[in-house]
């Protein structure tokens, strides 16, 4: 693909929540069945403008996440297309039973947007971090789990989900994100990983905001003549097993990167595929099993080694160890 922002272009930073709001607003103007539901979260979801322009299509439920998801399932059952925008920490925990039963089990066409996900609430601490959400949602049958890398992918993902009837959980962060793509001039396919950089020496599989870190790592490794494949696993479920097995076979080593606990998330999902199909050495980089340290996302990432410098070193060790 030729639309990848391989090198960091730190000027372009847009928050994915803003993109979701703008995209949904455009689509909802043409389709009165599209609804946004918020739990006193329209500000944090950047949905104020949506609510102002389409007040009949924004449903406020107050600070009541269980009710939020249940109401959405009811709306879906009478033919609406509800998009639920609520902080990932609450949406994926407080209302997980409604997600399991009312949404996934009942096959309700509800799209759950977990905003301010991962560690993006920074200093607010573990109550507001959501680094277990992929583990929990991934284990629920009938629910897609997705995480866009940047503004371009976010737009493509929301557009793809509008006429896609399977329920989905989409997790995004709070803060402006650097681009990983140059534009939206490409085909986005749910469940299909994007090879952001070619290479056969090692593979880094990332999703969400860690895709940028993976690309930066690939650039750094290039300076050491190491060709690093980068797979953007924007859909964590259903997982692109073909791309993972191919990477295991062709590159022989895999590093996974995620803004999530090292338990049960992307790394776990990838290792489930690798270990049962083509076992190769792997490293799972993410948040260790502890209440994550508080700070700004780059500070937290650096603390846990989710940065190009550390991952380049790990990649080199894995290659030289071979």
């Amino acid at each position: 693909m030729n639309n990848i922002a391989l090198k960091s272009r730190s000027g372009n930073k847009v928050a994915n929540r803003k993109v979701i709001s703008d995209t949904l607003l455009d689509l909802a103007k043409e389709n009165s069945d599209i609804y946004v539901l918020t739990s006193d979260s329209r500000g944090s979801a950047s949905m104020v403008q949506f609510g102002n322009e389409l007040p009949e299509q924004l449903i406020e439920v107050g600070i009541a996440e269980q009710n939020l998801v249940g109401i959405s399932a009811g709306l879906a059952s009478v033919g609406k297309k509800p998009f639920v925008a609520s902080p990932a920490c609450f949406l994926s925990m407080r209302s997980i039973e409604q997600i399991k039963v009312d949404v996934a089990y009942s096959n309700s066409n509800v799209k759950l947007i977990g905003i301010s996900g991962g560690v993006s609430y920074g200093a607010l601490g573990m109550s507001h971090h959501s680094v277990q959400d992929l583990a929990v949602t991934r284990a629920i049958p009938g629910l897609h789990v997705m995480m866009p890398a940047d503004r371009h992918e976010t737009k493509k993902m929301i557009e793809a989900l509008i006429d896609y009837d399977t329920p989905a959980y989409v997790r995004i962060g709070r803060n402006p994100v650097e681009d990983s793509y140059l534009n939206e001039d490409y085909d986005f396919e749910i469940g299909k990983a994007v090879e952001m950089n070619q290479g056969n020496d090692i593979t880094i599989i990332a999703s969400g905001e860690t895709v940028r870190v993976a690309l930066d790592t690939a650039c750094a490794l290039k300076d050491s003549d190491i060709n690093c494949r980068v797979l953007n696993m924007h859909t964590i479920k259903p997982l692109d097993e073909v791309a993972i097995i191919k990477a295991a076979k062709e590159t022989g080593k895999i590093i996974t990167l995620e803004e999530h606990s090292i338990y049960g998330g992307l790394g776990a999902a990838v290792s489930e595929v690798v270990s049962q199909n083509h076992p190769v050495p792997m490293k799972i980089i993410g948040i260790p099993d502890e209440p994550a340290i508080t700070g700004k996302t780059p500070e937290v990432f650096k603390h846990y080694g989710i940065n190009a410098e550390n991952i380049s070193n790990i990649a080199k060790e894995m290659i030289h160890h071979n």
Partner: protein, 279 residues
């Protein structure tokens, strides 16, 4: 609204449903006997005297919606749906058998079931969504939700109760099957939720109290809802758990007890006798 109902038909139907559900539970060796006998008259009223439905076209867009929040009392529900022709009565024989779609909780793989329920405290939120959808579309269908009285301890019910009055959902009718018992014992002892009428009133609902085992009264009361424009209706249906089968009436242990051969015979004889009287 004046509704002409065949009182004798309704009464006989509610006894026949009881016999059918008991047979199903007895053959399956599992089921919520007391809970299903408790809400049989409510379901009979809804499906034979109140709701606009079309079993031939179960997805008819303008149908009234029924959501059974107290999902465990499913035996009366399955029996009524089969009797109405949503699926063949023969399927009742598969209840709770390996791989059957007729499981121990409502399952929307079966025609006539709107949503999967079973985890308590979910149904009213779902119903708020449906009722809100009807308002948005300018449609006149109503949404009926059956809850248990023990279920009132679930906090999510009160989230939904608040939202229903906030959005002025007078097309939503909540029904509480108030039999005063739950699996551990008396609802007042386990977690006292009274006074339920005052609680619901304070949440902005119009509350109507009825004999929840009087199928004729239920039809009349349910058909007259809503009672106030812009207000959701709560029907506080006073019921007897195990109603219609003397040995199970008001006995905590019958929540999900299966009758023995002797108990089954005694129960069926009692119901058959009552049916004969009504003929």
């Amino acid at each position: 609204m004046i509704v002409l109902v065949d009182e004798s038909f309704l009464k006989r139907k509610s006894i026949q449903i009881r016999k059918d559900l008991l047979e199903m539970i007895y053959n399956a060796g599992t089921g919520h006997t007391g809970s299903s006998l408790s809400n049989t008259d409510i379901l009979t009223a809804l499906y034979y005297g109140v709701m606009r439905i079309d079993p031939e076209n179960s997805n008819w867009q303008d149908r009234d919606r029924y959501v059974q929040s107290k999902g465990h009392a499913v035996e009366s529900y399955w029996t009524v749906l089969a009797d109405k022709g949503f699926f063949p009565k023969d399927e009742l024989k598969t209840f709770s058998q390996f791989g059957s779609k007729l499981i121990g909780h409502p399952n929307n793989k079966m025609p006539g079931v709107e949503m999967n329920t079973g985890a308590l405290g979910h149904g009213l939120s779902i119903s708020v969504g449906m009722a809100l959808g009807a308002k948005k579309d300018g449609k006149s269908y109503r949404v009926f939700t059956l809850m248990g009285d023990g279920e009132q301890a679930e906090g999510s019910i009160w989230e939904a109760a608040m939202a229903a009055s906030h959005y002025k959902l007078d097309n939503l009718i909540g029904i509480i099957d108030r039999n005063n018992l739950q699996i551990t014992g008396s609802t007042r002892d386990v977690m006292n939720n009274e006074p339920l009428d005052e609680k619901w009133k304070s949440f902005g609902w119009e509350v109507i109290e009825v004999d929840g085992n009087d199928v004729v009264e239920l039809v009349e009361v349910l058909n007259n809802a809503p009672y106030k424009t812009d207000k959701p209706t709560l029907i506080l249906a006073n019921t007897v758990k195990g109603k219609g089968v003397s040995l199970a009436e008001n006995v905590v242990g019958w929540h999900h007890k299966v009758p023995s051969e002797e108990e089954y015979k005694q129960a069926m004889d009692e119901l058959t006798e009552r049916l004969e009287v009504l003929k």
